[in-house]
């Protein structure tokens, strides 16, 4: 089929439905126009392909595939409900506050939501199968997600095997494994954290693979994982130096889900810049910014959320050099609901960079900023993080609103920190980046 026409028709339909649904009278389209009923083939399948099938394919982490009409039709009402409530696709960023341009935006537009609702309300018609978009071949669940872009990893590291338990308390598997495979330091360009498939993808909630260099030195976080965030590609010209010798400190949080299995192994794929190639900017990757820290204590465990109540925590961090922020990934547990990242500039201006206001512990989404809107922050900027915990029955994943909730590592306890993809730069680089940004904005204005 002609994908251009398809997109055009889809856009018109989505716009029309959106106008109808949002107009006061609801009759704008009807006057002199034919009301178009959305069909699966023409209107719904493209949306699912774009925003849903990455997970909802036979090898994906979604509970059911949503590829064919036969697979999708039984779930039409559920799709309308979940998308209407913005529970699916998982994207918990507040669309009304802060930066809104992301490289990995999984959210549906209002028009797409309206299309799905109208289709469900119309009885979920199939339409003409000839209108279906060309199917996408998704990588198998065990494949490297970045392989299509970058080819196979240059180096793969593995955890030691862990026997997964079916039920019980959260488990933390923390093996120490020698780091081998490099004969000299290399600049890391991308990394992917890959739990086993299918078991590991169900039970590994989050994890870290941190290289502890031989003889000391700053640990190098090669890869960090959370459900919904498995890889990281550093921006062009940005990299992380990986020493050749050391050992990997694995920290794997397993969450029992009723399935057991022996010898589960997590892998991390590493992609390097070419030998001898040195990126201009050196990044630390995702760095932790505590919201639950207190007075320099390793654990400021002053989280105490009352039964059926709320608590707000704040943490502030002063940037000692200019920085570029690439991404924002809040980390809370089951009572976590909101995290806001605000920049307080040296001149006193205050700007919300991002706010996740529908946080869900079951997803650890990294919100990756589009290049043209990445925060460029001068020395002395205060990054302020604010977390809100909801221990009421309104929180759908609250295991027990009658409990007092305190700090802890289990999902039923709480913690609060942000993983921020950040690159420290010098004053000269900052001035250059600001000039480039201004030039880009002026270009936009001229256009």
């Amino acid at each position: 089929m002609n994908s251009h026409l398809h997109t055009h028709r889809g856009s018109i339909l989505e716009l029309a439905i959106f106008i109808v649904l949002t107009s006061l009278a609801g009759t704008v389209l009807a006057q002199g126009s034919e009301i178009i009923t959305p069909s699966f083939s023409m209107d719904v399948a493209p949306i699912l392909q774009q925003k849903c099938q990455t997970c909802h394919n036979p090898d994906g982490i979604g509970p059911m595939p949503l590829l064919t009409y036969a697979q999708v039709k039984p779930f039409s009402a559920l799709i309308k409900d979940r998308t209407g409530k913005r529970m699916m696709p998982p994207w918990h960023n507040d669309p009304t506050t802060g930066i809104q341009q992301f490289k990995n935006d999984a959210s549906l537009s209002e028009a797409q939501i309206a299309t799905l609702a109208a289709w469900a309300d119309a009885g979920a018609p199939e339409g003409n199968p000839a209108d279906l978009p060309t199917p996408i071949q998704f990588p198998s669940g065990g494949a490297w997600q970045l392989a299509d872009q970058l080819g196979p990893p240059d180096l793969i590291i593995k955890s030691t095997p862990y026997d997964v338990i079916a039920n019980g308390q959260d488990q933390w598997w923390t093996p120490d494994v020698p780091f081998t495979g490099l004969n000299q330091s290399r600049w890391l360009r991308a990394a992917e954290f890959k739990p086993s498939y299918p078991l590991g993808k169900k039970v590994v909630h989050h994890g870290h693979a941190v290289l502890q260099p031989t003889g000391g030195g700053r640990p190098v976080a090669l890869a960090r994982y959370g459900v919904g965030k498995s890889w990281e590609i550093y921006p062009e010209g940005t990299g992380m130096l990986v020493p050749a010798d050391g050992h990997i400190a694995w920290n794997l949080h397993y969450f029992p889900v009723g399935t057991e299995g022996d010898n589960d192994v997590v892998e991390v794929g590493l992609w390097f810049y070419s030998e001898g190639q040195q990126p201009e900017l050196v990044t630390n990757g995702e760095s932790m910014f505590r919201v639950d820290g207190l007075n320099g204590m390793a654990r400021g465990q002053d989280i105490l959320i009352p039964p059926h109540g709320y608590q707000v925590l704040e943490g502030t961090h002063v940037l000692q050099s200019p920085a570029i922020i690439h991404s924002f990934r809040p980390h809370l547990h089951m009572r976590g609901k909101v995290m806001t990242m605000t920049a307080i500039f040296p001149d006193g201006r205050k700007e919300v960079l991002s706010q996740v206001n529908k946080y869900n512990h079951n997803w650890q989404i990294s919100y990756i900023y589009a290049d043209e809107v990445k925060p460029l922050l001068p020395t002395g900027t205060v990054l302020q993080f604010t977390s809100v915990f909801d221990n009421t029955a309104n929180n759908p994943i609250n295991p027990d609103p009658n409990q007092w909730v305190v700090f802890g590592r289990r999902g039923v306890d709480e913690m609060s920190h942000a993983w921020v993809g950040i690159t420290d730069i010098n004053e000269e680089q900052y001035a250059e980046a600001v000039a480039e940004r201004r030039a880009f904005q002026e270009t936009l204005t001229l256009e």
Binding site: P95, Y162, Q171, R299, G309, L313
Partner: protein, 282 residues
Amino acid sequence: MMMTKSSPIKYCLLVSLLSILNASGSMAQQIQLSQQIWSAEVIRPSGQPVVPLFDGWFANEDGSKSLCFSFFNLNSEQSLTIPLGADNNLNGADFDAILPTHFDPLPPRYRHKFCVFTVTVAADFGVDETVTWNLTSANQALSVPGHILPAYVMDEPASGGRGDLAPLVKLSADGVGVRGRKGIFSESVISGRVGEPVNLSAWIEHPNEEIWVGWAKHSGPGVVEFDALEYTMSPRQGPAQVQAKFAAAGRYIVRLQTIDSIAAFEFYCCHTNAYYTVDIGD
């Protein structure tokens, strides 16, 4: 909800619900902040209550279950005494548990006292049944329900992942050893006199090179001074010891807690409790 009296903490901790206005009109759950409470302000030197906590539960070999209770003293300097009775009880029922009546100030490095006592319930204890610890202090009646929710299950006495193992504790060199939070109790009463040091010992076995040991007054009529409240030691260097002085006559319970590392507390696995009964005469 367990707060039954109007109080500063009620307003300090509870952030009222308004809404975060969502211009898109989406169905997101909405929270608005009319008050913002920062972490450091929860803790004050004195004048605040003790919060009872439920850490979780674990199954015993005979099918029964044990519920673990702990506490969070919101005072960084003030210890509190809450006598058993109307202000300190379990559901008003007669469970076989030793409730603490003494509550140390907030520990500086970890913020609550983990599992200071357990309540064992029968194998057929239902998921909907609860054992509630009621605790009133600083004019606030607080409570917490313990029950056997799957989400709150705990490893005991060892964790599969991290490999944590509750230390084996004996209260005499050739005595029976016990691991875990249900604890070990001194078989005989230790005697002493007001103001005179009483030596308490525990023989601890653990494969680690170093373990953590903490001592606390659990209950009793007067102040207890320890020559060391907490320390790390090698389990192979001999028994863990402490010297305690009691300020008033009467019966005391001293609580020992030991764990393979203090960091393991926040993983909720696994420590061992030991309880010494001490009678102090004039």
